[in-house]
């Protein structure tokens, strides 16, 4: 394990000498002057360089290996996006600059919004929200404002039990009560069960399509009809939009409002790689409620910021959104074009189905033998050997793979959720599948204790998650 900076050998000899020519200001009273050395660690430059390089080598990233983390979509972030977005023309602008001097920036945002409309079938987008869940929250506030404007009291939001946890959470924070909808074995919605709980108090239902089991919602048109006949709205969680680009649009399925996670579908860096962005799209009748300011184009083809929207839910973030993230996604769309984006979705779906086909008939797949961009295995057959999905995922680390998502969605027992994304080769997929099959069908039977102890070859062995949660040590001593 790499030592911490203050554990590295330190000597009295400074790592670097700076001759200061700044004289001490005589006005500083004696009592306030430092008469001891500064107490900084004194580490040779070469040791320091090694320290940081070694730390970086302990990272696991898309640039080091396969990252099949289902639901999270650990998509490749093209380097050209990083290169362009680091150009000073973008990094040195300031949101307080006169509007005439940032016309290009506003044009990119305006055009990006139009591109999102074309891809999703929505009419307007707001780019202000700083993350997907922030987008959900904005969407739900708009739903609340909408019903206020038509003098209807609707206090409930329906969320299926296969949904992402952010759905009920966002709805709750926007002031709604949550009604849970039990989903079917493959995570889909039964229109009949939906009808039973669809009262006049229901403001909206939040759906993820394809759902978290990687299955397309076959009854979506019927669901849309039932929901709208009840006067309720249909909310699209864009978490899995990356499976549908250029193939089918949420707007055409009947959704009224949606959010997109730019890191999932449009290759912005994932959490930790920078701030997020969660654009919200709406059909025209919800436009008045979008956050302000709105970026608009006036009759002289100039881009302006419109703050005068009396029904808007207001401002959700300082300034105009995380522009440099939006920029990366804008470049992604422009570089790939309509055909390229469609190809991204097709390949993501093909890769997932290839993997699923190799597991089929050997491992339980609750949602059946076809999927969209991801699928969920149930490893409950291993429970009889005292092996849990957690053990299998820890063992995958020993083989140099990042482990897939486990224990989500909650409706699948001993779930393992795999999402390969579009950029992996058949060879990489085969390597991973071979290892996973070896762990499940050989090691789990012949050497189960190895799995219970895994990871064995990593710097850090099995962590005690329970103890870490019950008695966390929150600072370095």
């Amino acid at each position: 394990m790499e030592k911490l900076l203050n554990e590295l050998p330190s000597s009295d000899i400074p790592a670097y000498n700076i001759k200061s020519d700044v004289g001490i200001d005589v006005k500083i009273p004696e009592s306030l002057r430092r008469n001891l050395a500064l107490g900084l660690p004194s580490i040779a430059e070469s040791d320091l360089l090694r320290h940081f390089t070694n730390l970086s080598r302990e990272n696991y990233a898309l640039s080091t290996g396969f990252y099949p983390l289902g639901s999270c979509t650990m998509k490749y972030n093209p380097l050209i996006n990083e290169r362009i977005s680091k150009n000073e023309a973008f990094t040195l602008i300031h949101p307080y600059q006169p509007i005439e001097s940032v016309q290009g920036t506003l044009e990119i945002m305006y055009e990006f919004g139009r591109d999102l409309c074309e891809l999703t079938g929505m009419d307007y987008f707001s780019l202000q929200q700083a993350a997907g869940a922030h987008g959900e929250f904005a969407g739900l506030l708009m739903i609340a404002e909408y019903f206020k404007s038509v003098n209807q009291v609707r206090t409930k939001i329906i969320v299926p039990d296969s949904a992402h946890g952010t759905n009920p959470s966002s709805a709750f924070f926007a002031g709604f009560d949550i009604v849970h909808l039990e989903s079917e074995v493959d995570g889909s919605i039964s229109p009949r069960k939906l009808k039973e709980i669809l009262t006049k108090e229901v403001a909206a239902i939040m759906l993820t399509v394809p759902n978290t089991l990687g299955v397309f919602e076959k009854s979506i048109l019927e669901i849309s009809k039932i929901v709208h006949e009840n006067g309720s709205l249909l909310y699209y969680d864009g978490a899995n939009l990356n499976a549908l680009m250029g193939i089918v649009r949420p707007g055409d399925m009947g959704f009224d409002i949606m959010h997109i996670n730019l890191h999932k579908t449009f290759a912005a860096p994932h959490g930790g790689g920078g701030p997020g962005s969660g654009p919200v799209g709406v059909k025209a009748f919800l436009e008045p409620f979008l956050p302000i300011p709105r970026i608009e184009k006036n009759k002289y083809s100039e881009f302006v910021l419109n703050y005068k929207k009396s029904e808007s839910i207001g401002r959700l973030k300082a300034f105009f959104g995380n522009f440099l993230i939006i920029l990366r996604s804008y470049i992604y769309i422009k570089a790939l074009g309509a055909e390229g984006l469609k190809n991204v979705s097709e390949r993501a779906v093909l890769n997932a189905n290839y993997m699923l086909a190799r597991f089929k008939n050997r491992i339980n797949v609750p949602a059946g033998d076809r999927c969209m961009h991801e699928f969920v295995l149930s490893l409950k057959l291993l429970l009889k050997n005292n092996i849990r999905t957690l053990d299998v995922s820890k063992r995958l680390l020993d083989y140099g793979f990042y482990a897939p998502t486990i224990y989500f969605p909650l409706i699948v027992e001993e779930a393992m959720m795999i999402e390969p994304t579009e950029t992996e080769s058949k060879e990489m997929l085969d390597d991973f599948i071979d290892v996973l099959i070896k762990i499940i069908f050989e090691e789990a039977v012949l050497e189960p204790q190895k799995l219970n102890e895994a990871p064995i070859n990593m710097n850090i062995k099995r962590l005690n998650e329970v103890e870490a949660a019950r008695k966390p040590i929150l600072r370095w001593k």
């Binding site: 224990y407 909650l410 998650e465 329970v466 949660a469 019950r470």
Partner: protein
């Protein structure tokens, strides 16, 4: 082996209920604690809060996930088991005794009819 005591009533959402006059003690079943796995955090209802049947009043968190706990009866919360806040593992170790969650003074005896007896609960799990 899952322990299901004879003298308790049960719910479909895996709470147990011990009735004593117009009061009831409520916790989660042995089956539930087993499914939830190692519990790391418990949130209890506020004292003297009025609650309605089927309302989520408490949260139990494991390393796997967070689970809502529903009150099977309407009434007033008249006691909570603070010991499980400090040591949530008690709920795993003793779900029916030391690991109970809260006490309620219930107001509608008709709601008792909706509770499951041991045989019904056994069928459910």
């Amino acid at each position: 082996m899952i322990n299901i005591p004879q003298n308790l009533k049960y719910t479909k959402t895996h709470e147990w209920v011990k009735i004593d006059g117009n009061r009831a003690k409520i916790g989660i079943t042995d089956f539930a604690q087993h499914e939830i796995t190692d519990i790391v955090h418990v949130e209890l209802p506020e004292m003297y809060r009025q609650v309605k049947k089927s309302q989520s009043v408490s949260v139990i968190e494991s390393v796997k996930s967070a689970f809502d706990i529903y009150t099977p009866l309407s009434g007033k919360i008249i006691g909570v088991n603070n010991a499980v806040l400090e040591n949530p593992e008690i709920v795993n170790q003793s779900p029916y005794e030391n690991g109970y969650l809260f006490l309620i003074e219930f107001i509608d005896t008709k709601e008792l009819d909706d509770l499951l007896d041991v045989d019904d609960y056994k069928k459910l799990i």
